[in-house]
Symmetry: D2
Subunit: 465 residues, 4 copies
């Protein structure tokens, strides 16, 4: 609802647990912040793959009846956010199909940069597509591979796709996890008793009381079957490119991803921000909830008191009706309200994680001024977002990103702030304690690790002899 | 879902506005925290009273079609929480009926202490009841009154009821607000342009951009009609007894009620608590969201850093399915998770507003210890709750209140804390800056301002001659 | 959907059966043709009365969960059709309320002619009304009565109401049935094993395999409790006035009411019609399903072959969408289609039970001509309907009844038929084998047995001394 | 709900009409008797194919919003009944996919006898399947064809499939109809104004007021595009094998299929039956509605009176709850009830179209005896059904067909009839006026025109060189 980048998916898997579907349900519940438009679970019981997926939140998509039908000890699950155009059931995941190798379900977090090229090639060969999702391309590649084993099929299929993916694949008796060699999207491995579990974020492990083991490494394929867990690294190594925005905004503060605790990183972003952009002010308030962790860091570093100057209405739902014109423009006000006692007569530092279009922060600055603030100093715990993401994040087009065409002074003026400070790219890197090149920061810097869209190339899968 | 006292209702009214139903919808939206089980709006257009009420949240109960049918320039609305037994549509409000004076709708926040006595008397006289709510008693008393004007009927009816009420009554052309002489429940008067508005809390005024004028005074009846706003005080004066728990927990932090800003009071409760019960600790964390304001006060007073050590899952819904036995006990975990980075190796002060049964805080202390806390010091920003409420708050029976039968040492042991500190009654009074007797603190002190249940008395209404 | 009079209600009751709610459900299922807008069942278990009622068909209103909650060995049920204005849940039956005598549920088939008068009197005395249905008046009268027993209360209440009623009343331990002294609406008594059952029509007994015992007599009150079945006749005798339209159209052909089998009566109506209005024709076809029985009689008497020249679409539902203008006017065509093979080149006798506005039959005559009929002779198995009903049937206003302002020649012309014959009033009486005055035929003759609306009279209940 | 064979599908198409989706909606409405489990419409507007399909009846699946989204002047639609196992949304039709040639939707009535063989071949080549329906095989074959035009692709694809099909295919600008060379399932061509329309049965033309032109001939492919209607016969000729059961039971009486009016054929079946199996009886009654037409024929030929001795409850829905054990076995009784007046003391001829398992007719004979019949003579207007159908009809397995293992005497005994007469195969042929071999009567005679399942054969499509 706010003017934010959006994560596109969360995935979860478990193998060899008597209540696989129930555990997957809980895992997806903990990953709900990664996608709220559709949810699905596929299970397998040694012979068949069962799938249930629908539009809606995890708790709405699954009731006892639906979970009971998802028999079997193995499960993968998926939550999805998607752009308006493709928000349809047929794109909900896990996608499933039967092919010569049996039944297969796939859950995918990421974005292939050569999906259209592959799709065109596949259609030219006679393939038919039922959805518009990248994931169906992967299904076709797996089915078309002539390799003898599922692992070999996966290796062959993934060798032709480019871009970002953390993938879970389930057959009647095997669960395979794969992560692209850049490692754009997170994927962690844990254990629940003896059962291996996989999750986009570690917070899902906490809920089910599973133990975190390690992250699935970039470029790694993990095969889980009755023989146990085996790991493979069949692809040439590439630089790493962990998505830094997962740390800035997407992941839950209680998760650890890319080897770092998210809350601690965000507080450190706030501290860096305070050092780079101090303010002569009386109080620090966050934009709830995106700015909370950074605001605490900013307050601690600056010595200014932290206060909750904006209160969130916890009952905001998606069905809210905008009343008629005369009383409209409730976009922000139905979600947040200012606490006059905190703000009146004060010089206020307002902390948030990022500015996309600038429309929301502009309304909030107005609201804060209306509550009597003497000065409003906006501080952003990341650099200006100047470019879209091609690796699994839903971002507006470049033209809609205010920082792509306006400098900081212009943005300050637009959002009606007395001052505006963004964290620098260097400050960002310091805060995440990143080696150069370890993270993808293309949305700030324009350094895209994988080109998009690329020219078509002959795919080895399709060579006949 | 948490182990908390619960407010039973929120009410909202507006008179003489072209979009009365839409404004009431927004007002109820802002008051949703006061009741989530049913919602309703009644409007009048000079000739007829229209009512729409259903089980569910405001945003689910009303869609465009429902709002469009609620024609007219006057509206009252109601949100309701209710105990399990009476959670039925027939008890949803506003209740409406036709009687000799025309059509009438009533929205009621509070609890009558002599409702059963009145009901028995009314039934003995031949009245029939369709609901089990106190409010239907008021409808009958209004209908049975032989007084010539609606105001006189209201005065006569309210002269026989005892207990807590903030009431809104709507006829085809008049809106009447009334508040009992103790003033248990809040009720504020404002204006939206020229239109008078009434609301349980001022936060609803903020959302619709109405101006706060004053509180409806205890014992006051406010009549709003085409002649304007007129106030009456027909009842003998009594001591005041504002519900202190509204300040401690129920009201939204951005509201002002009983002449005080809620957030500021809660921070002061936290400061008092820090002075009364300091702790040798490293960090202060709140139970979200009930403990946040007090925790900020505690941290500021104690000089300890404030951190969000527990993260809330924002997608918790009422439809969550508890999985089977082997993976159960998710009551708290689906809502909150600990941030190990904040807690591990630390001595942690955990701040909340109150303890009811102690079951939730016990699980949270366990969770915090599991995340590696060295010590856990629980601090509660109100005194031990030893008695139930009879004035409009849903509380468990006395036997279920842990503090009614256990001393602080025993409670500390049960909740597994290293130390436990409750704010004293004196500290509470200091923090709310209350004159002696201004507030009802019966749930802490047992000083009930109005007796319940009382013996039946002959009601003047029913005397024939 | 067709242009027909409509019955307003069906009622069913059972006492002392271990599956009372289930049996009532089946009984209502068999009575569904008497009302399709709402359905409800009230049960009692010796201490409490439970009610479930909703808008919709019986099979939609009740699922296993709803039936399971309706505990107890006694039940009454109701199906309702209602005119648009009052088609609301609050008017669905059984209506229930608590009063000094405990809880009470009432199911009512009929129409009180002095309901408004009584309502005005009751409101003047201070009563409040939650619905607009006549039945709530009865509830009030029962509650206001000072008589010592329920039976005495019922007698006192019914002594002041005028008009048509077949009533079932249920308390925690008693079921009372009552029928007005004219006997407008049917009501039969039967037994299912040892359990007494009551039903608007005998077809409900067939479904549950109950045995028909007798009809509840006009003016009779039947009390069913643990002492057994007792009958009373407390009211002065009046002439009888069985609704003849129940036999002509409303009741199911497999029912017996007013001592006659409905199918046999309808065939006899068709035979009389053939004698009164023979036709030079080749084939007799009915309008399905209202004209089937009479058409068979007509065919047998005339010696002409009976054919199903119009085929009914069995999947017509209430949700059918009329497409846009260019392809509209599907009112009749989505329900019926002509069989060209039967009609082409033939002289066709078309039989139906009645003509209300004439719009439907006009379209059907067109359809039959379009299918190639050489001549179309319309025969109606009842006299012209010239007046509305005030005794429980939903009829259009007099002005809308084509026969109230047009003679047979004019109607023939309007409906585009080559000839038109209505059964005479004398033929009707012969066919139903009725003594003079035994039936109400006011809609044909204007002889209304009970005046409506009548002037107000002082009600004995309300006299104070 | 009755013990009947079931048709599996109905299809409808229109090209070049401004309200294509609305017309298709009406067409499917008229074909609802051919399938009640799912419904779907695909439209095309010159550039895109839009599809909406859901489980449920036509009137429930489509509302105004859904129809509005189905833009374009071309449409195909489908209603489906399916066996329990595959009753899933993913099998609902029209199936659609994108492939190299663009988007394509397919609606299919029939059953391929070599579907599994083709599917295995396709999977071996790397194809993936999302459904279990035969129709997806056709989509793959169309996509894999290397032919330059859609028509050529269709010809190539259909040259490898075997069995029964009437097919409609829709691309962005072309509608193609195809019927297998045996002509198992009906398919008619008509015009609505200038727009060509196609329908399983002519009754859909009547509803939309389209003109019947001719049947699509067996083995014919009809291409409809902006150039008009062109017909092709690319396949070698085979004998014809029109499904005789369409005339006996499936099709609506008001339809004409295979050059015959259905009602007239059924009456003639009844006449033949009366000649072959007369009865010493007093009255002829049909099993509604399947036996009505034949019963009229039987009555006319025998001179016995036709009566409606069984009355149908028109409100039987799919949600009916069977109550608990003590009052069960409502299978037949909730749908039909006997009219005692017609049956009591009479010798009754009961006419139906067929007996499948015999369970329903057995209950009905019991019901008729319970209503007092002196004798019950069952007459069936088709021969004993001894074999299942492989060409698009849902039949039980051979073992479940009572006539596959019992002779007429044994069946008579089982169904408790005094006598039982089936129409002979010769009588059936006389009644349908069929040339030898014109109709498929395999379910009676075991003469299956196309073998099933056949051995796999190398498909020309897949030859690489």
């Amino acid at each position: 609802m706010f003017d934010k980048f959006r994560d596109e998916c969360g995935i979860f898997g478990i193998y060899g647990h008597p209540e696989a579907a129930n555990v997957a349900y809980l895992g997806l519940y903990a990953l709900q912040h990664r996608g709220q438009e559709s949810a699905g679970i596929a299970t397998s019981d040694g012979s068949t793959v069962h799938v249930h997926r629908e539009m809606g939140l995890v708790a709405d998509v699954f009731d006892r009846t639906a979970l009971k039908k998802l028999t079997g000890t193995n499960a993968i699950g998926h939550v999805r956010y998607s752009t308006a155009g493709s928000s349809q059931l047929k794109n909900a995941q896990p996608l499933s199909a039967s092919f010569a190798g049996g039944s297969l379900a796939v859950a995918h977090n990421g974005n292939l940069t050569n999906a259209q090229v592959l799709r065109d090639d596949l259609e030219a060969r006679g393939s038919i597509f039922h959805s518009t999702s990248d994931t169906e391309v992967i299904l076709h590649l797996l089915a078309l591979s002539k390799q003898p084993t599922l692992l070999d099929r996966v290796v062959e299929a993934l060798s032709v796709v480019k871009g970002a993916y953390s993938l879970l694949m389930l057959t009647r008796d095997t669960l395979i996890a794969a992560r692209d060699s850049y490692g754009f999207r997170p994927l962690a491995l844990g254990t629940l008793g003896d059962a291996p579990v996989l999750s986009s974020e570690s917070c899902a492990f906490d809920l089910i009381e599973a133990k975190f083991v390690r992250e699935v490494e970039p470029g790694e394929i993990v095969v889980v079957d009755d023989r146990g867990v085996r790991a493979f690294k069949p692809f040439p190594q590439t630089p790493r490119a962990f998505c830094v925005f997962e740390l800035i905004y997407f992941a839950r503060p209680d998760s650890s991803i890319f080897g770092r605790n998210v809350y601690a990183v965000r507080k450190e972003l706030g501290r860096e921000l305070a050092r780079e952009h101090p303010a002569q002010a009386d109080v620090v308030i966050p934009i709830p909830d995106s700015g909370v962790s950074a605001a605490i860091g900013y307050a601690q570093e600056s010595g200014l008191p932290f206060e909750t100057g904006l209160i969130r209405n916890h009952y905001v739902g998606r069905t809210f009706i905008e009343p008629r014109q005369s009383i409209r423009h409730f976009g922000v006000k139905v979600k947040l309200n200012a606490v006059e006692e905190v703000i009146h007569g004060r010089r206020v530092v307002v902390v948030d994680d990022s500015i996309v279009r600038g429309t929301t922060i502009r309304k909030l600055v107005k609201m804060i001024r209306h509550a009597g603030a003497r000065e409003v100093h906006v501080r952003i715990s990341s650099p200006p977002t100047t470019g879209p993401c091609f690796y699994g994040i839903d971002t507006p087009t470049r033209a809609e990103l205010i920082a792509s065409s306006h400098n900081v002074a212009e943005i300050r003026k637009y959002i009606l702030a007395d001052s505006l400070g963004y964290l620098s790219v260097e400050g960002l890197r310091r805060a995440v304690r990143a080696a150069r090149g370890e993270f993808c920061d293309a949305c700030f810097t324009g350094n895209y690790p994988v080109k998009f869209p690329g020219p078509s190339s002959q795919l080895p899968l399709f060579r006949e002899g």
